[in-house]
């Protein structure tokens, strides 16, 4: 009996360099956003002195 054909969707990938670089860049940006938000909150509440 013929086995039913299993269809698979193509596994899309970026070129290898971008596959490594992009998650690192996005993670770094996420951390920086958190830091900037904390600094902005600190400035707004007066914890960090000297508004711009």
């Amino acid at each position: 009996m013929k086995e039913p054909e299993v269809r698979t969707t193509p596994d899309r990938r970026y070129p290898p360099f971008w596959e490594k670089f992009i998650p690192i860049a996005l993670g770094t940006i996420a951390v920086i956003i958190v830091i900037l938000l904390l600094i902005a909150i600190a400035v707004a509440t007066g914890i960090f002195p000297g508004f711009e």
């Binding site: 698979t8 969707t9 193509p10 596994d11 899309r12 990938r13 970026y14 070129p15 971008w18 992009i22 998650p23 860049a25 996005l26 940006i29 996420a30 920086i32 956003i33 900037l36 938000l37 600094i39 902005a40 909150i41 400035v43 707004a44 000297g50 508004f51 711009e52």
Partner: protein
Amino acid sequence: MILNTILPFVSSVISFVFAFILLKRYLARRGLHLLLWGIGMVFYGIGGFCEGYFGAFGWNATIFRLWYLFGAILVAAWLGQGTVYLLAKRKWANVFMVVLALGSLYGLFRVFGAQLDPELMTTSLHTGSEMSGHAIVTSGVRSLTPFFNLYGTVTLVGGAAYSAWIFWKKRVLLHRTIGNILIAAGAILPAFGGTFSRMGLSGALYISELLGAIIMFIGFIRSITPMGDIDSQDSVIK
């Protein structure tokens, strides 16, 4: 001292060129995000021009007010509002636009009504070679900036990072993934420059603004320019 004139003038020119491209694209395609980004980059350019003017000619109260309003308060929020129009539902984008417009008018009123003392820009932290909000004497004016900058950081930087993540998750349109990462990185730089400047690192603000404008510009051009065959590669799972 010459750098404190040249750097911001160069930043201003780049910003105005970028604004021209964005507004030209808006006229062709009519996306409100393009209009707001264009306005935001005009503000960026005004801020840089005022900094360069200060470096070249010294103190001027009107130039200072223009710098503080456009460069310190409004620029990040208006750029971010463009991203809100790109990513959010139109109804909510309009609501935030009304709030931003009213807030901007309030900021205009407060900044142009504030008392100034240029001597205060030279403190134990600041050398006075760069513009600084310390010149504003009237209370409650400088406290406006964190709210606008917070909104700008979340929407512009966060929005660009979110867009990049969505494209990366689907492994499509590599040029837009890279472009959005560059836009996020470019938008982050002036924020850090302002922080380092506040800590007394002279020149940090102007350098970060220049690099920020350049990187955002490159990011935008990258995001609208497909990379051809290497945008994605397909491989079949066996």
